[in-house]
């Protein structure tokens, strides 16, 4: 990787400090502290309900935080959203919506086009390039409901690529995707990583998590462990993440939630 491709500032791409997120007074995430290194492909794993999606939504300001702050590149996320890319869960939108694949990918450019302006020829060229990268260019004029699950996921990925960000959040990009698409996506992410981008991916398959990611965040309401995959992917830590060790914490959380109602 060449140095000039790296983000220029020295500040870490993502710094989370004492982040607590609650849903109806019940904490989902509790006191998260995290400093993500630049140029790494980071997997977020943990059991169902561990708050994986909540974490990345809270990082981007899509959910209100009860306490704590999130900085991207040394500034509050709200101020550096131009450098943040997002691949939401596939079910988060209505795929019967009357738009074409090209329209969706162009949406990735909206942040750069500016309010009330039309996409330029350059934006369209860029969008086509991103579609090419995910091998979806032949589908550019299709209406999005005519796509398979894997194709829909690749359209979302192309849209995120069109954002040209330095920090990416991806919410389960591998659900409902066939094996071929999955390996195509992961090599694309690895290519992005080698260009100095930082990518956080919510993932729910442990065996592949080990091979896909440089770093792992083991999450279960709290950060159980965060570090290079070979150091973090240990039976003890995984047991701690997936096992029943945190039952006391969740019971307290339940009680707090009940009292607050």
């Amino acid at each position: 990787m060449s140095l000039e491709n790296l983000p220029k500032s020295d500040a870490p791409p993502l710094e989370i400090h004492d982040l607590t997120v609650a849903y109806r007074n019940k904490p989902v995430l509790w006191g998260i502290d995290l400093v993500a290194p630049a140029g790494k492909l980071i997997g977020i794993v943990g059991p169902n309900g561990a708050g994986k999606s909540t974490l990345i939504k809270a990082c981007m300001g899509l959910l209100p935080c009860s306490s704590g702050w999130v900085n991207a590149f040394g500034r509050p996320v709200a101020q550096s959203l131009g450098r943040v890319g997002y691949v939401p869960q596939r079910e988060s939108v209505d795929w019967d919506f009357p738009v074409s694949v090209m329209d969706v990918v162009l949406m990735g450019r909206y942040g750069r086009i500016g309010l009330f302006k039309r996409p330029s020829a350059e934006d369209r060229r860029m969008a086509r390039e991103c579609l090419e990268q995910v091998q979806m260019l032949p589908f550019a004029d299709r209406q999005i409901s005519n796509l398979s699950g894997g194709q829909q996921q690749r359209v979302f990925l192309a849209r995120a690529l069109a954002q040209e960000s330095d920090l990416y959040f991806m919410d389960e990009p591998f659900t409902g995707v066939d094996a071929a698409t999955e390996s195509a996506i992961i090599s694309l992410l690895q290519a992005l990583r080698s260009r100095g981008k930082t990518i956080l991916v919510v993932h729910h398959d442990l065996p592949t998590a080990r091979t896909y990611f440089d770093w792992l965040l083991l999450l279960n309401m709290r950060v159980v462990a965060f570090g290079p995959t070979d150091q973090v992917f240990t039976p003890e830590l995984l047991q701690k993440t997936y096992g029943g060790r945190l039952t006391v914490l969740s019971e307290v959380a339940e009680a707090v939630g009940a009292k607050a109602h």
Partner: protein, 507 residues
């Protein structure tokens, strides 16, 4: 633990739609009861016959009457603005929102009247706007602070605001002073009651709607399609949402006098629903929807004008439903008739191909010794009565695939080519299934019967590439290659040497 409740949405749309239609029925019933009291003198059957309808139609078409001019202008304007904003409601699955908003404006209309006891377009506009926005604010407060779902909140707001409006209006009817004429036009609409002041309000609203949607098309599109992503792009999502509700309230209120409170939501939803049958791109939905809205408005005004001052709202909605029915039947891709026609022509094609195949098989059984096949042999092969086979042969002759006499049939060059292609498709597919998928030879025939009609050129080439030898099928019969029609009209020789030679069609 869920951060955002998901998964309820799918079922809810059905429930919402059902609740919406029931509510509408009940509301319309109540309104009919209440209003029949003070509109009893308006529409007597006798009025219909007093003026000849041709005369009325002529007055309408020539636009000679200023009343007609205002009515036309007003309905066109309302058609555009309702069509545009209705498209957003339909694609966002928020159809009931339009219903609630339009019913919630009624108390505002009554208060606007009360302002100076006159029909002052501006006062009514402001009153209705305030009431509409209060209604939508109530919905959002209810959904945010309680566990009630949005459809319940919408239903409650719709009914209670509408009830309040009806109370105010009937109280107002009893007041001794003031010009009461025209208040009932707000319930069912009366385009002929539009004056220059109303047109000014409607014109302004439509202009604002068109300009803002044109400028902010891409933002409104993104906020409607994926609000989460819009927020990540640092778009002021909340403000665009509010603007959209604002514009919606504007156009509902502007349309009130021509369509009426009860049915204005239909002018939001039906043109947009029609448009989404016609196209699957949002900008085209917007254009189609406003055009259909315009046409329904105009024809509604026209129909009600024929019957002298019948309420316009129902006629507009009926015209819009008429357009919807036409689209449902004839829309190029999704319409019932084009779909039926496509299925039928496919059935006819498959039928012909099966006959061609049978002729080929009879010829093959005879060792390709003759050029003609007797009707009787073909009927035996097809396992149908000779009468049915004669009909099939007539169909082939009509498509110029065959020439026929009373007792036998012979293939033309194009018929021969098609027959070879079908038999080849069938046998190649059988070969592929037994070879590549290891399916037993006695299991492949039925599948090939279906596949032979749909195999495309590219797939056939692919099969040829993948199979090591393509001379005989799994049952040991030769696979014909595709004959090339040569210049003298005779059938040329394909690549394989063991194919039947020397077979010429009649020219």
């Amino acid at each position: 633990m869920r951060a955002i409740p998901r998964g309820e949405t799918d079922g809810m749309d059905w429930r919402r739609a059902r609740v919406g239609s029931w509510l509408r029925l009940i509301v319309v019933g109540c309104v009919l009861l209440v209003v029949s009291a003070f509109t009893a003198q308006a529409a007597k059957i006798g009025d219909l016959t007093q003026t000849r309808w041709t005369e009325q139609a002529w007055r309408f078409v020539t636009l000679s009457d200023p009343v007609v001019r205002y009515a036309c202008l007003g309905t066109v304007l309302l058609g555009i603005s309702c069509g545009l904003l209705g498209s957003f409601l339909v694609v966002r699955r928020m159809a009931l929102m339009g219903d609630a908003l339009s019913h919630a404006v009624l108390p505002g209309v009554a208060l606007g009247f009360l302002w100076n006891l006159e029909k002052d377009p501006l006062a009514i506009f402001i009153g209705a706007l305030v009431a509409g926005l209060a209604g939508s604010a109530t919905v959002s407060i209810l959904t945010r602070t309680t566990r009630l779902k949005e459809d319940t909140a919408l239903g409650m707001v719709l009914a209670s605001f509408f009830g309040l409006g009806l109370c105010l209006m009937s109280m107002f009817q009893r007041l001794p002073t003031g010009n009461k004429s025209g208040i009932e036009t707000f319930l069912f609409g009366q385009a002929a009651a539009l004056g220059p002041g109303d047109i000014q309000v409607m014109g302004t609203v439509t202009l604002v709607v068109v300009v803002l949607l044109f400028l902010g098309y891409k933002e409104f599109l993104l906020v409607s399609f994926d609000p989460g992503f819009a927020r990540v792009l640092a778009l002021p999502t909340v403000w665009f949402e509010r603007l959209l509700v604002m514009l919606l309230a504007f156009s509902v209120v502007a349309a009130l006098q021509a369509v009426g409170v009860v049915l204005v939501s239909a002018m939001l939803i039906i043109p947009a629903a029609t448009a989404s049958l016609l196209t699957d791109r949002f900008h085209r939905v917007l254009v189609w929807s406003s055009c259909i809205g315009m046409l329904s408005g105009l024809s509604g005004a026209f129909l009600s004008f024929l019957g002298t001052r019948l309420p316009t709202g129902p006629f507009m909605v009926l015209s819009a439903s008429g357009f919807f029915a036409v689209a449902l039947l004839f829309a190029p891709r999704q319409g019932i008739v084009p779909r039926w026609y496509r299925q039928r022509s496919q059935r006819v094609r498959i039928e012909r191909e099966n006959t061609l195949k049978a002729i080929y098989q009879v010829l093959e059984a005879n060792g390709f010794s003759g050029e003609t096949v007797s009707v009787e042999a073909l009927a035996r092969r097809r396992r149908v009565a000779p009468v049915a086979v004669e009909a099939e042969i007539r169909s082939l002759v009509a498509a110029e695939f065959a020439t026929a006499s009373a007792v036998d049939v012979a293939l033309t060059p194009s018929g021969w080519q098609r027959a070879c292609a079908i038999v080849r498709n069938h046998r190649l597919w059988e070969l592929y299934l037994t070879h590549a998928a290891q399916i037993a030879p006695d299991h492949v025939h039925d599948d090939a019967e279906k596949i032979e009609h749909v195999l495309g050129e590219a797939t056939v080439r692919e099969l040829e590439r993948r199979l090591p030898r393509i001379d005989t099928d799994p049952h040991g019969r030769p696979i014909p290659s595709l004959p090339v029609a040569s210049a003298d009209g005779r059938i040329g020789v394909g690549r394989q040497d063991d194919r039947p030679r020397g077979y010429g069609g009649r020219s």
